[in-house]
């Protein structure tokens, strides 16, 4: 088992290094740099040019990348021109808010998805099934940021129940988490439904029914428990995706997470911070997905057996 974990961790390092190069390269393609963005009118063209020379902006891409990655291994991801603080520190300060949002989002998604998926599987091809399938399709087809905006109009502006932005005060998490959750719920509902449909047809379910076990117990104790593994795996993957995908939601609700930081960095052409944010977010979601794989391997004896020699 440990061999499996070590293998997964070791595999992550070269991938992240390659990711950092690609990100560095693409960001470098963008016109304009942070010196232009910050000192646009304050400094003369010559002064800006000297500054670029001093800060090594004029070196070739490979030289700058080598210098960057060398510093990264020393724990230094550069200074943000926008905030005048180390990029790593800025990022780490924002991580808890994004994690909170992603976890609550998936939690809400599961609360919506599991009951709906189970009900539509039990009543396959009935009116209830069709209705929840349509609901799922609507959830999948809705741009999440639009749903968020509509909630702001209703719950903050018209009813005044919830704060429309930020991560402070009671209930501030509700709307952002719902926005993340509703889109995810649609996908998870589909997984729940198909996983339940598969399990319901198994022999042990027929045996349980034949023994005279109550239908409710059959469904929730025997069937759902077995159907849960693919659902949890899907939820884990969704969580990884949510971490990188909360950018838009964070921007709608001015949520102080890493997505908002990335967008702010982009708008200010703060390339050091942009590169840092992208690499760290990729690392964060990859590590999370790796954890889920490892947990999954622990739970599923078939995977465990393959690596426990």
């Amino acid at each position: 088992m440990y061999r499996y974990i070590i293998k997964r961790v070791l595999l992550l390092i070269p991938i992240l290094i390659a990711v950092s190069f690609i990100v560095f390269f693409i960001v470098d393609l963008a016109p304009g740099d942070s010196i232009d963005a910050v000192f646009g009118n304050e400094l003369s063209t010559e002064d800006k040019e000297t500054m670029r020379e001093e800060m090594g902006y004029n070196d070739s891409l490979l030289v700058r990348y080598a210098r960057y990655i060398g510093n990264v291994f020393k724990g230094d991801m550069g200074m943000s021109v926008l905030f005048k603080k180390p990029a790593l520190e800025l990022y780490l300060n924002r991580v808890p808010a994004t994690l909170k949002l992603a976890f609550w989002g998936i939690f809400i998604a599961l609360i919506i998805a599991i009951p709906l998926g189970v009900i539509s599987a039990i009543h396959q091809n009935t009116f209830i099934d069709t209705l929840s399938t349509i609901l799922g399709l609507l959830g999948m087809s809705m741009p999440s940021f639009w749903f968020g905006l509509l909630m702001i109009i209703l719950f903050s502006l018209k009813l005044g129940w919830l704060p429309s932005f930020g991560n402070e005060g009671r209930g501030s998490i509700i709307m952002p988490a719902l926005t993340v959750g509703v889109g995810q719920a649609a996908l998870l509902m589909r997984t729940t439904r198909s996983s339940m449909l598969e399990v319901i047809r198994q022999d042990y379910i027929r045996t349980a029914r034949a023994k005279g076990v109550k239908e409710g117990v059959v469904i929730y104790k025997h069937a759902l428990r077995n159907a849960l593994i693919p659902i949890i795996t899907a939820a884990g993957t969704q969580l990884g995706i949510a971490l990188g995908g909360t950018v838009v939601v964070e921007s709608v609700f001015a949520w102080p997470g890493v997505g908002k930081l990335t967008i702010d960095a982009f708008n200010a052409r703060d390339t050091t911070l942009v590169v840092g944010c992208l690499i760290l977010t990729t690392a964060l979601s990859s590590v999370l997905m790796m954890f889920i794989d490892i947990i999954y391997a622990f739970v599923d004896p078939r995977i465990k057996a393959r690596y426990s020699r």
Partner: protein, 291 residues
């Protein structure tokens, strides 16, 4: 040879897929709605005048509620929201279709090359895909869009490139499943060139899963595209792209619900129609895929 291939299923297979698709009520509804949207998008571009009916500023009529004259009301510059939505339809459709065409073309080509030749070529292509895919797709798209500057083309490229790895994987998997078939071996035996085999045998036979993937991806491409426009990285104002219209509506949430409600609804209906078609295509082809 040609006759043989035809009998094998080209027309028979597609005929059956069409029959299955037609049986699916949701898919047919989706197809009708989508056709209507395409029709409206094309008509709007020809019938509405961009300068006077779409972008002309008319402050006295700003932020009006729904009325007979302006069914969806007007925006902060007094422009008719309904007209702008109708005219904006072609941006979203273009983004969705072109982005997916880009990713299908590049992704499938890479996947087919990797799957057919194997070895070092495969390792290089697939490892590159492994490196691109863990980068969260919205972030990568933002990155690419800003690298190419704010325009419709750069938005299409950004949304397209992000999904290349997904297509490469699907194409490679399906090529690997046909690679060992006897008819490929037979073609090799009679001395057909690699290009010939790929074009005549491998591509037609690995097309179904790629097509299913492509239909599904049009829907998500439209959503990602409008998200980028919403963040200010897409089609520049005053062009009435739906995501961009939502971004403008944000400053007027208090005064005008219309500016937010209708563009979003337009995105949702379009994406819903495509999702219905996608589900239909998948269900119609799936039994054959399992063969």
């Amino acid at each position: 040879m040609k006759g043989l291939r035809k009998e094998r299923g080209s027309s028979g297979f597609w005929g059956e897929v069409l029959k299955e698709f037609k049986k699916n009520k949701g898919a047919v509804t989706g197809f009708i709605v989508f056709s209507l949207i395409v029709l409206v998008a094309v008509l709007a571009v020809f019938l509405l005048d961009y300068k006077t009916q779409i972008t002309k500023i008319n402050i006295p009529e700003a932020l009006q509620p729904s009325s007979w004259k302006h069914p969806f009301g007007t925006d902060q510059f007094g422009r008719d929201i309904l007209n702008r939505i109708l005219y904006g339809a072609h941006y979203s459709l273009l983004i969705g279709l072109c982005a997916v065409t880009i990713s299908t073309a590049i992704g499938s080509m890479l996947g087919i090359i990797a799957g057919y030749f194997g070895g070092l070529v495969e390792t290089i292509i697939m490892r590159t895909m492994d490196v691109i895919s863990p980068i969260p797709s919205v972030l990568l798209a933002i990155c690419i869009a800003s690298a190419f500057g704010q325009s419709l083309i750069s938005l299409m490229l950004a949304v397209g490139i992000v999904t290349v790895p997904a297509f490469a994987r699907v194409a490679r998997a399906s090529v690997m499943s046909v690679r060992e078939e006897e008819y490929i071996e037979a073609a090799k035996a009679i001395g057909a060139s690699d290009i010939n085999i790929i074009v005549k045998h491998v591509i037609p036979n690995s097309l179904p899963p790629i097509l299913v993937q492509a239909t599904m991806r049009v829907a998500s491409a439209i959503i990602v595209g409008s998200s980028l426009s919403f963040l200010g990285l897409g089609v520049p104002a005053p062009k009435p792209e739906w995501g961009g219209m939502l971004a403008q509506g944000r400053s007027f949430l208090n005064t005008s619900t219309n500016m937010t409600l209708y563009p979003g609804l337009a995105i949702m209906i379009t994406v819903l129609a495509i999702n219905l078609i996608g589900d239909g295509v998948r269900d119609a082809m799936d039994p054959k895929l399992k063969r």
